[in-house]
């Protein structure tokens, strides 16, 4: 019989992970780390969904996790293409190099 973890703890963990991911997005300049931080944020959101699904004994939370997984895969596919372009054009992975793209 597994010990039930209180949902407050899980949500606190999810929030912590989301905050860590956000900080990573904001402070890292390397685009690879930026993408990894994004993954952490998405997984934090997924964790919150799963925890909520378990708490109310509903399947929706886990289905939502599936969607987020698909979304993350698609995002990575597109983002890696951009990363390759970035690396080719600027010969670095520093995302601030692309700051001339504004109207």
């Amino acid at each position: 019989m597994p010990v039930a973890v209180p949902i407050e703890h899980v949500l606190a963990l999810a929030g912590l992970l989301f905050l860590l991911g956000l900080i990573g997005v904001l402070v890292r300049r390397n685009v690879m780390f930026l993408l990894m931080s994004l993954e952490v944020m998405m997984n934090a959101a997924s964790l919150a969904f799963v925890a909520a699904g378990a708490r109310w004994a509903a399947p929706d939370g886990q289905i939502m996790f599936m969607f987020i997984l698909a979304l993350a895969a698609a995002e990575v596919a597109v983002a890696l293409g951009i990363v390759v372009q970035l690396a080719r054009r600027f010969e670095s992975l520093d995302v601030d190099n692309a700051d001339e793209m504004y109207g």
């Binding site: 956000l22 904001l26 300049r29 930026l34 692309a98 700051d99 793209m101 504004y102 109207g103």
Partner: protein
């Protein structure tokens, strides 16, 4: 009757042709189009008039099209023809045509604007069109359109010789001074629309009678005075008369057509058209009479000391229009329109013959440089003589019939009969006096200049026709204006009462005194004018009783002073501050557009956090 639309349409087409093609038209074509279009219009007016009387003189409408239709407000371009409109149309197209024909000769070898021949006729045609819309329009909007249109043409034609800045100044002065009156008039029209809820003239007059007569007439008084303000500006009456003498800067046919025969009588037309308002409010009608009397008095004294032949005629025009206002004011409605018509004949004649004199003397307008011209310029002399006896109202000329009715009606005025009649009689004496002075100085005495009369048929032809109209126009005038206006036509007066005889004697007295003073020189006028009191009085009269001086110091100089110290325009600061704030905000906003991905993400996170905090009720 179906031809009514053609009356204003012909001059409009003429204007469009001349205005668009004025650089490419030979002079002959311009002359034919310019005078011909008004001729077509006059012919159409004649046919329309014959139809009108055949059909029993019933007012008729002709709807051309609906101007706009917005929420129950649908002013139409619709022509309205009654006896009043027909009389005005006849004068405008008939006299207008004669003046146009004359102008084809007068402007032919113009030394100041040799390139402006077609342009001149374009403006003249536009003027005739606007004037016709003014008198034929069936609602206040069309009337106002014509009213402002003639003002524009007046401005353009006064400043026709635009190379001389003084003419431009005269044109601006005329435009601004009449604009003062127009503002009053526009307010009057707005007020009428607000109070009566319609802009159709006939309907609004009916409503005005239903709503106000017998009851509270304050609103009618206010509207009447505002309309009088507009009429005063356009018709050069006291206190807005100062523009007319300066308007003589335009070519002489313009002075004849616009500043004597037609446009300046628009004020008379307006009051006659709106006569119900003035009948409801006797105070407003009395104001009209007082304005008229004051003007005819002031102007006839001023005319006595002028040295420029056109200015003499300009002041005489002012005083004759004063007679018309006076007639409207004392209730001689038909007589006013009658005088308008006869005045159009003889004043056009006077101006055109003065134009011939001026042309023969190579644009010399000072009467003291003329003299002894009657032998050399027989046709201008004869026509000016005929015009003068009509102006002085000698018996059986056209001016006599109209002026006589006005003065005798004034004598019968309920409250101020004797004062009104006396003032008008003195002015009639003055009219004869200054006319005699002008004739004697210009045509008699020693010769002071070389004159070459080179006028042809197209110049003396109109003069002869106008001579005939001036002499005989009084006879058929009775029928034309009989049944439109509320006094039931021209009154019947005995010509053998004491008042009638004195009225009739006044011009003779004026001519006799004029002959004694300026012909026989019984009194030495120069010595009189050189004396201290005489000189002061002469300068006072010469300057038009100080009105120009007054306006210059009371209005023009203060406005110029304010304009000078307010060069930066205080009011503009509101808009400049708005511009500065917008620019600053834009600058701050554009700083956030850095192109940095992490900056955008941080903004997004911050915004979202704020949003959640507000939703959760932590802040706000």
């Amino acid at each position: 009757m179906d031809l009514l639309w053609l009356v204003p349409a012909a001059p409009l087409v003429g204007f469009l042709i001349l205005f668009v093609l004025h650089d490419y038209l030979p002079k002959v074509v311009a002359a034919v189009v310019g005078a011909g279009s008004v001729g077509v219009s006059a012919l159409a007016a004649l046919l329309v008039g014959m139809d009108y009387y055949e059909a029993g003189a019933e007012p008729t409408w002709q709807l051309l099209w609906t101007w706009m239709s917005v929420a129950g407000f649908d002013p139409a371009i619709r022509l309205y023809l009654d006896g009043l409109a027909l009389a005005m149309t006849g004068v405008i197209t008939g006299v207008g045509f004669l003046i146009h024909v004359y102008a084809t000769g007068y402007m032919w070898n113009d030394h100041e604007e040799p390139e402006g021949y077609a342009r001149f006729f374009a403006y003249m045609n536009l003027f005739v069109f606007a004037m016709l819309m003014l008198v034929l329009g069936d609602n206040l909007l069309v009337l106002f359109l014509g009213w402002e249109g003639v003002g524009l043409c007046s401005y353009l034609l006064i400043g026709f010789y635009h190379r001389d800045p003084a003419n431009g100044y005269a044109a601006r002065k005329a435009f601004v001074v009449t604009r003062v009156g127009d503002t009053f008039m526009a307010l009057g029209l707005f007020l009428m629309f607000r109070e009566l809820g319609t802009i159709e003239i006939q309907q609004s007059l009916t409503l005005a009678n239903e709503q106000w007569s017998g009851g509270d007439t304050t609103m009618a008084l206010i509207i009447g005075l505002l309309l009088l303000g507009g009429a005063v500006g356009k018709s050069a009456q006291v206190p807005l008369q100062t523009w007319l003498p300066d308007a003589m800067a335009g070519p002489t046919p313009v002075s004849a057509l616009i500043h004597a025969a037609t446009m300046v009588t628009a004020g008379v037309y307006l009051i006659a058209r709106m006569h119900d308002i003035f009948l409801i409010s006797p105070e407003a009608q009395l104001a009209v009479a007082v304005v008229g009397l004051a003007t005819l008095f002031i102007a006839s004294f001023t005319a006595l000391v002028q040295t420029d032949i056109k200015r003499v005629l300009a002041f005489s025009t002012m005083s004759q229009i004063g007679y018309m206002f006076f007639a409207l004011g004392v209730g001689a409605w038909s007589a006013a329109i009658f005088h308008l018509m006869t005045h159009a004949f003889f004043k056009a004649l006077l101006f055109l013959s003065a134009g011939s004199v001026i042309l023969a003397l190579h644009h010399e307008q000072d009467i003291f440089k003329m003299g002894g011209l009657w032998r050399k310029l027989p046709i201008p002399f004869a026509s000016m003589l005929i015009g003068s006896i009509c102006l002085a109202a000698l018996p059986f000329t056209s001016g006599f019939f109209s002026k006589d009715v006005i003065m005798l009606t004034a004598f019968e005025h309920a409250s101020h009969g004797l004062v009104f009649w006396g003032g008008a009689a003195i002015a009639a004496f003055m009219t004869a006096l200054y006319t005699t002075r002008m004739m004697i100085i210009v045509f008699f005495g020693e010769e002071r200049s070389e004159a070459h009369d080179s006028s042809r048929l197209n110049m003396w032809g109109p003069l002869l026709v106008l001579c005939a109209l001036s002499l005989l126009g009084g006879w058929f005038g009775f029928g034309v204006v009989a049944d439109v206006l509320p006094d039931g036509g021209l009154g019947e007066f005995s010509h053998f009462s004491a008042v009638a005889l004195v009225t009739m004697a006044m011009p003779f007295l004026g001519i006799f005194v004029g002959w004694l003073v300026f012909g026989r020189r019984v009194i030495d006028v120069e010595a009189l004018a050189a004396s201290k009191a005489g000189n002061a009085l002469k300068r006072f009269f010469f300057g038009g009783w100080g009105f120009d001086w007054l306006y210059d110091n009371a209005v023009v100089r203060p406005v110029m002073w304010v304009a000078r110290i307010n060069k930066g325009d205080i009011v503009d600061w509101i808009y400049r501050i708005t511009v500065a704030v917008t620019r600053g905000a834009h600058h701050v906003g554009s700083l956030t557009q850095s192109g940095r991905l992490r900056w955008y993400a941080a903004n997004m996170a911050f915004g979202l956090a704020l949003f959640f905090l507000i939703v959760l009720g932590v802040i706000g």
